[in-house]
């Protein structure tokens, strides 16, 4: 087999998808071998805790192996024709200039990396202003220390923070506040229930906006869903699922109102002793951060219609706001660079490389074929089946590889070649809902539920895998069932 470079090489390298399979043939044995490699990586990611290895290392090792195997089997877009570009990978830009790039560089979706890097830096700096702790404590005081109100306010706050920040940061803020406030209110027996409900709600909140979770960013980018459109579609589901989760949680864990006037007065006195301004070191920075955060959300929401900005994308917006707020700490920005989750970013980069190699090895086409045969052939129930399958897969392994693979596979389906208005969107939404909600089935299903379990352990509430599943499963069944109904009834084109 040989690879001949064409002017379409850029497409093959960076977006691949349907285009890749039409340009070269790969022997089935090679495809199966690479499929086995992919399965091994997914398994290793599922056993991440057991093998005590970080995600970035696992995917990094597999990326290195996959690239070597890809080059050795001649499936990568490396030019083997005679001439100045012999044995190198290259891309041609819109001006017709040929750029020599290592084959793994265009394999990475830099737009996604930019969004994650920019928004995490921005959120990290904003959190130093005391804005999020201010809001969290204000809500605690508004609850007057009444447990049922506290659960409701913390639940809604979890959803909103998950939507606007990310689900891990939301769980860190709300989980740590929950532990402190319930301890203050001498209601430690409610901590497990509160943390579980909040952990589940992070994944509900993760559905609310395009930037709430990585699967949303990946699938949304691939499907061409804009920020506002994403919000308008997801918000009715999120509102209903949030209300149901809080109601179920209150009933299951015995979270009630306070009975006597004495209890109410004591609880009110206790929550009043929280000082929401304690974390605010500079009022001017606090207000600057609040204004920039509002502007950040508004800019993300309108990126698609803003002149010039829409050409640069959401990654540019996120990085732009990150550097704008870093000016406040211009002499110590390295402190924030150290705080960046490099494990997550390198994980994405390596994952994109692996997926790209799998694409060239026709593994994604193989999976797509299976998907078409067994799930998409179910007609009206296909999106519901895809949602359930995505949820189950996300429950036991990372939802990001799933989202990245499904984005490629669905993007390569024949229906996706139709004009935008005629494309069936329910499959995209099925992956978004499934990838997010699958995290509610097991304690390892999402990074935020891992944080919830960590808070439980830290406060002397060890919870086994089995117990978590027993407690969370009724909620997850409701969430996934509701999502299946929502996608089938309202999102089928």
């Amino acid at each position: 087999m040989s690879w001949t470079a064409t002017p379409n090489t850029l497409l093959l390298l960076s977006s691949g998808g349907a285009g890749a399979e039409s340009h070269h043939h790969v022997a089935p044995t090679i495809t199966y071998a690479f499929a086995a490699l992919l399965a091994l990586m997914v398994l290793a990611l599922a056993l991440e805790e057991k093998i005590h290895a970080k995600k970035s290392l696992i995917t990094g090792v597999f990326a290195i192996v996959a690239l070597f195997a890809g080059a050795a089997t001649n499936i990568l877009p490396i030019d083997h024709s005679e001439g100045p570009l012999n044995d190198v990978a290259w891309v041609r830009n819109v001006f017709g200039e040929t750029l020599r790039l290592p084959v793994y560089i265009p394999a990475i979706d830099w737009g996604v990396i930019a969004i994650i890097l920019g928004s995490s830096l921005f959120v990290d700096v904003v959190s130093k202003s005391g804005l999020f702790t201010y809001i969290a404590i204000k809500l605690t005081k508004a609850s007057r220390g009444v447990p049922i109100l506290l659960l409701t306010y913390y639940g809604v706050m979890t959803v909103v923070f998950s939507a606007l920040l990310n689900n891990v940061t939301a769980m860190l803020i709300v989980g740590s506040l929950t532990a402190v406030s319930l301890d203050k209110l001498q209601k430690n027996e409610l901590l497990l229930g509160f943390l579980l409900v909040e952990g589940l709600l992070t994944n509900i909140g993760g559905l609310l906006t395009l930037i709430s979770s990585v699967p949303n960013i990946i699938v949304g980018n691939a499907a061409g869903i804009q920020f506002i459109e994403f919000f308008l579609v997801a918000s009715p589901y999120v509102a209903v699922a949030t209300a149901m989760t809080i109601a179920l949680g209150a009933r299951r864990f015995g979270v009630r109102a306070l009975a006597s006037e004495t209890e109410k007065a004591e609880a009110l006195d206790m929550v009043r002793s929280f000082d929401e301004t304690d974390g605010i070191e500079s009022r001017s920075f606090f207000w600057t951060a609040a204004a920039l955060f509002t502007l950040f959300i508004m800019t993300l929401a309108t990126t698609s219609i803003l002149p010039i900005v829409h050409e640069l994308g959401m990654g540019y917006v996120a990085l732009g706001f990150a550097f704008a707020i870093l000016v406040r700490f211009k002499a110590e920005v390295d402190r924030f660079y150290r705080g960046v989750d490099w494990d997550l970013l390198l994980f994405f980069a390596a994952l994109f490389v692996v997926i790209n190699v799998m694409e060239h090895a026709q593994v994604l086409a193989l999976i797509g074929g299976g998907l078409e045969r067994y799930i998409l052939s179910l007609g009206e129930a296909s999106s519901a089946a895809l949602l359930a399958a995505s949820a189950l897969a996300s429950a036991v392994t990372d939802n990001i590889p799933l989202a990245a693979m499904m984005a490629k596979i669905i993007g390569a389906l024949p229906d996706m070649a139709l004009p935008p208005a005629e494309r069936p969107m329910d499959l995209w939404w099925a992956v978004v809902f499934g990838a997010n909600l699958g995290g509610n089935i097991t304690p390892i299903g999402s990074a935020s539920t891992v944080v919830a379990v960590t808070v439980m352990h830290k406060h002397g509430l060890p919870i086994s895998f089995g117990r978590f599943v027993r407690l969370a499963l009724p909620f997850a069944v409701v969430h996934i069932g509701l999502a299946m109904a929502y996608v089938v009834l309202f999102l089928r084109g």
């Binding site: 702790t133 404590i137 740590s176 929280f274 929401e276 304690d278 808070v455």
Partner: protein, 290 residues
């Protein structure tokens, strides 16, 4: 530091101890002396005059005063039996009670030691009676300036309540939180030997946090007392320093007529680490030991 710990620390810092005023009443006050009956009665009258802020009423009825003179053969156990029988709300006595070596400047005497530790009743420790007249020492002035002195002020509602009760109308209540700089330096020297910890950051942040908590607490005291009483001036003194030398300076600077301190140590049957050396050192200053 993990992000989880970072947020939890932020919320713990925001969760502040707030002062709640609980009015204190003294229905029975026991004055213990080793004087003759007549001198003891005169001494009791002097104490009543000195503590007119509680003798003259205030909230609740005027207290009942009882005078007990320890006989020459009375031991500490008998004295405790008297306390048990009278069940006073306050004991007033003086240093080196029932001691032969009254001039002994390095202790309070065994009777006072036991009274402060073996009973739960607050003890007003007065200067030794004046030589000759055997009256209350002239250094005892009206309690317009009362100082609450501790190395752990945050949450010490009981100390503040007593300070408030003993401050004359229109007087000044000085709240002192003194962090022992010798202990602080010892921890800093240990931190300085741990490569994983930034010594300068630790020094700045720990010192700031140690002083921030009592300062926040005092702010809540000011807020509460302004709303509930209004006639007291509250002065805040939060600092690091030498536990005896700096305390003595503060007492002198503020002309404290009474110093309120904790003496009960939960871990041992001995006076609280800060209270004993101060009680021995400040021989002319009346102390209220809780």
């Amino acid at each position: 530091m993990s992000k989880l710990d970072e947020f939890e620390s932020a919320f713990k810092s925001a969760s502040k101890a707030r002062y709640r005023l609980t009015p204190r009443h003294f229905e029975t006050i026991l004055v213990i002396t080793d004087l003759s009956e007549a001198s003891g009665s005169r001494f009791t009258e002097d104490v009543k005059d000195f503590l007119s802020v509680i003798a003259d009423g205030g909230p609740g009825a005027a207290p009942e005063w009882t005078h007990h003179t320890t006989g020459s053969g009375e031991d500490v156990v008998s004295l405790l039996e008297v306390v048990e029988r009278v069940r006073p709300d306050l004991i007033c006595t003086y240093r080196n009670l029932h001691e032969r070596a009254r001039a002994q400047p390095f202790s309070l005497g065994s009777h006072v030691d036991v009274l402060t530790q073996a009973t739960t009743t607050p003890v007003m420790l007065l200067p030794f009676p004046a030589e000759g007249s055997q009256r209350l020492a002239e250094s005892c002035k009206k309690t317009y300036n009362v100082m609450v002195l501790t190395d752990h002020l945050t949450g010490s509602d009981d100390l503040i309540d007593h300070g408030v009760r003993f401050t004359e109308h229109g007087g000044t209540l000085v709240l002192v939180h003194l962090e022992d700089d010798a202990i602080f330096e010892r921890y800093m020297s240990v931190i300085g030997k741990i490569p994983a910890l930034d010594t300068e950051v630790a020094r700045d942040r720990i010192a700031a946090q140690l002083q921030k908590e009592p300062a926040d607490y005092i702010a809540s005291v000011v807020e509460t007392l302004s709303a509930a009483l209004g006639h007291l001036t509250v002065v805040s003194r939060v600092r690091m320093g030498h536990r005896v030398r700096d305390c003595a300076t503060l007492i002198e600077d503020h002309a404290a007529a009474l110093v309120v301190m904790n003496t009960k140590d939960e871990d041992q049957l001995a006076m609280h680490g800060l209270a004993y050396p101060l009680a021995v050192e400040l021989r002319d200053t009346p102390l209220l030991l809780l």
